[in-house]
Point group: D2
Amino acid sequence: MAVRAAVAGASGYAGGEILRLLTGHPEVEIGALTGNSNAGQRLGALQPHLPPLADRVLEVTTVEALTGHDVVFLALPHGQSAAVAEQLGDEALVIDCGADFRLRDPGDWERFYGTPHAGTWPYGLPELPGARDALTGSRRVAVPGCYPTAVTLALFPAFGAGLVESDVVVVAATGTSGAGKTPKPHLLGSEVMGSMSPYGVGGVHRHTPEMAQNLSAVADEPVTVSFTPTLAPMSRGILATCTARARSGLTADRLREVYDKALAAEPFVHLLPEGQWPSTAAVYGSNSALVQVAYDEAADRVVVVSAIDNLTKGTAGGAVQSMNIALGLPEETGLPVTGVAP
Amino acid sequence: MAVRAAVAGASGYAGGEILRLLTGHPEVEIGALTGNSNAGQRLGALQPHLPPLADRVLEVTTVEALTGHDVVFLALPHGQSAAVAEQLGDEALVIDCGADFRLRDPGDWERFYGTPHAGTWPYGLPELPGARDALTGSRRVAVPGCYPTAVTLALFPAFGAGLVESDVVVVAATGTSGAGKTPKPHLLGSEVMGSMSPYGVGGVHRHTPEMAQNLSAVADEPVTVSFTPTLAPMSRGILATCTARARSGLTADRLREVYDKALAAEPFVHLLPEGQWPSTAAVYGSNSALVQVAYDEAADRVVVVSAIDNLTKGTAGGAVQSMNIALGLPEETGLPVTGVAP
Amino acid sequence: MAVRAAVAGASGYAGGEILRLLTGHPEVEIGALTGNSNAGQRLGALQPHLPPLADRVLEVTTVEALTGHDVVFLALPHGQSAAVAEQLGDEALVIDCGADFRLRDPGDWERFYGTPHAGTWPYGLPELPGARDALTGSRRVAVPGCYPTAVTLALFPAFGAGLVESDVVVVAATGTSGAGKTPKPHLLGSEVMGSMSPYGVGGVHRHTPEMAQNLSAVADEPVTVSFTPTLAPMSRGILATCTARARSGLTADRLREVYDKALAAEPFVHLLPEGQWPSTAAVYGSNSALVQVAYDEAADRVVVVSAIDNLTKGTAGGAVQSMNIALGLPEETGLPVTGVAP
Amino acid sequence: MAVRAAVAGASGYAGGEILRLLTGHPEVEIGALTGNSNAGQRLGALQPHLPPLADRVLEVTTVEALTGHDVVFLALPHGQSAAVAEQLGDEALVIDCGADFRLRDPGDWERFYGTPHAGTWPYGLPELPGARDALTGSRRVAVPGCYPTAVTLALFPAFGAGLVESDVVVVAATGTSGAGKTPKPHLLGSEVMGSMSPYGVGGVHRHTPEMAQNLSAVADEPVTVSFTPTLAPMSRGILATCTARARSGLTADRLREVYDKALAAEPFVHLLPEGQWPSTAAVYGSNSALVQVAYDEAADRVVVVSAIDNLTKGTAGGAVQSMNIALGLPEETGLPVTGVAP
């Protein structure tokens, strides 16, 4: 008996990626597809890479359209999920790809988003210690931000084992799909091809408190994060270069041993063999994360680099992985583990 | 009972794509992986996008290594397949992704390849009239060239219905993976990013006689093809712009009607709705081909544009599709129909 | 005594390129810069690649703002140039980068642009036979379209020498800057990177009659053009693959001889040595055009490939080259002849 | 009376960029062009973007070929400059684009390059305090590494004014031309397009001690640098994200004031207005560097982002700028200050 899934925001990049994954998910039947400005259009005109759904027509996003599904994916602009979720009740598993229910601290939320805090849902990063238990059987999932996914997967083993202390510095490059499908001048192909540029510099990017929240929880003490996101000339992918100050006594061997152990059982996170470094190309369209570590003795810093696909593991894949856990399906069901490369 | 498949040339781009598809194929178990200069290496170092096969080690390409499999994929340099195939005998289905067995006319072969003609195998383009019958139960398959795949899918309905006559002009743009993984100066990222350039101009590209062969067969009269390939700044994809002189009396409606009918039953070839044009992005990593047609009255030419992924439908996907037919499996088994976009 | 130049439409891509060239032009002093929606903004915020002009502020495009300059460059949307030009009178050299005054046949204009024909100005493609005479001393210049520039430079020698007859087929790839700076979904970096796609297929692109006009004039008989433009994943550049049916008796030697002679004296158009083909990278930011020819005997077609930078030789460079001629300056003044590569 | 310049290593990317700049330099006449494996070839086949030099033929790199020039640019592999320079004597100004004479500490040199230290030459980063004096009239110049150029320009004002202390963390993205023109598998277009990847992680990149040397000199105390370079899908450009721990009492206003003052008189380094961030596209082909600063109070770190063109300001432009100073020419002569964008 198939799981019936609706997708709200089916015309955007996150929505399109959810649909790409769901068309390959053996337990899911795709129900209502909704949008707002694009309601009434054929999906084929909006998401031409999904021929099996080309003739489906987008409905307006309403509670009525979304009701009657086992799972509802919300790929809506920030701040719109709470109202919808409230009316859907607990019959449906509601998976929010927006930010609304990620942060625990209302002060953080208000400082970075400027609206009242809506609450906190079980956090859809299964690899984080304790997360799988919270997700199992849950009716609500807050899918992490794409950057926090990459950064948390990179640093949780080091903080969990007490190898590093605070003063985290992260510089991450993202593909342009992370900025969404709404046309803006700086996102034109003419502007982004051949160009790297930063944005949200100086601690103002909204994903910063989410990273600090995750790492502080694992470290069991406050962790500061200096985070600089940069826009790279590629459609997909995040490469996160993450460093933290080493605690005294660290060795390269101990570092590797800790990561090996922390990641060995993870189906989607792979510590690469020594000498091999992650690339975003290797996880293109895949739910895998690739991780490599180094200890820079002269600078006394641990450097961890992770690569994910921002739309797959960073959004839609994380959402489907969490759905699988919440519904009691095998966690890997329907999720690509190979990238499309070269 | 799984079909056991070996891949000769597993370190190259075609070999990597075959493996990506086979890891997702429910009926296939992956056997020997062979290479030459890379024998002895972990596949993870050569194809980092395939984590499930990362610890597999490449063997040297020998008949012994390839023996004992139900299917052997040959992704070898041109001219090396004949010797291997001969020794494998008829126990195995041998699928050659090289050019060796594509051309029927020994004169064409010798003119374009400069070596003696090795013969002709059933042609792995199932959509070509008659091809499915020839493939069913066959122990040998010659996978078409990537360009001939794109061009033949674009023009066979028009020639089949007698809508156009000769003087075909094709200009196609390909992603750089079509040029292979052997490092050459003009294939460096620094050279290809931001640049379009032609090569093999003036009728000398080796795929030219293969296109003429396919179209002449469908037209039942000799068809000339002026073919210009160009290298585009992208990793994957072929966009083929194909024109042919219209026969008198053609109308745009008749043209669309013919294509609609010719392609309606094809699982992988899609005539787009009017007003929508193919893009290579929409078939990235997919076995689909997208096609659109126009009739330019002033120039009295039919223009058909097709988009495929050169590594998927253009090579590995065509190979797996043909394997499915040859083995009596449902033709679509294990083949992605959605692209990874954006 | 410097030539004082104003640029209307200074915030767009054509306007920015005109300014880039004028800042390096030893005889020009940059006067008024105008825009519409961007009036009042610092140029540095709109064209960050032009530090010497960063603190200049855009005025509203009015006749008053443009009056009092020796040269006025109009980089306005199609249809807006006529009204401005009329009021400027003959004191100023007015150089229109739009389409308004390119076509001689009012029927062509109305069919492709849908508005009444405004007239015809001397055509700013100095390489076209007769063009330099018409430009010398002129107070008005119609800068050619970017595609017609690439195609005309590729084919005028062949038509001029009677080597080819009609049935021209052109497929050209352009960088995205050719589509302008107004944000549209299909021009987003996420959409264009990794993708080739056609547009304006089937004889409907507005540059088609301009190509036919130029080639028919040189051939002294009507020439049809089947033209398909494609959008390539690069910011700049046009690669035009142009073919025409050979007249009987043509040889490859004769073809090369004709091109050699026709282009030998041109400062900006270079016939490459045999065996070398043009690339758009080699003319990035340069006013040069690279050309190569081949004769495909089997298809009985001449194939000529040309590469230009759509913003430089294809727009702003052609405009400045024409300005130099009109004002009696050496034609090459201030124009880059080297590309920025790799 | 023109300055006669020779270029050793004229077939590579650095050599090509030196030539591009010299063809536009009003005081320079280009003399011998040398190479090794490419000796005997036309420059047009190797550097097709330089039509004015297309018919020049490369000589073998020998002291004889280089003798008799006023300036000799060495764009040779690391370790080859010392022998050549020694034999050229002091008649010529020798400008080394390699690493051989950059580091002052022989221990640093030996640790990172593994060969005996050859000495130290005046350092070709004119913006560094004291550098212009050392360059004036010098017969030897060591051109800085591309990354150290970007990082030193970003951080020298902060260290010079004592605003920050050690624990510098730098993550920089470079275009692929920084990796040179020798074909290697990981530099293929197929591999780099759509991909970000790190290399030389953990303090092992050879530019690390050069950054530490520059910043320590300005700070007048030892500065540690955690440096991670990443390869971005673009041909040119470096975006360096540089952070350092703030000293107590820092404010955002004070930070901006210091940078404003330090950079105000620099012809090639521009502090952007608040709210505007650098992009590599804006300095494409230009000798400009763009800089922006932020103070992240929560993380207590200063973040400075700089953008340069690795081949222009990062190599060839820095070399020509230093040549101008050494020869007593105006510093800006022949150097482009506008980027080629979009």
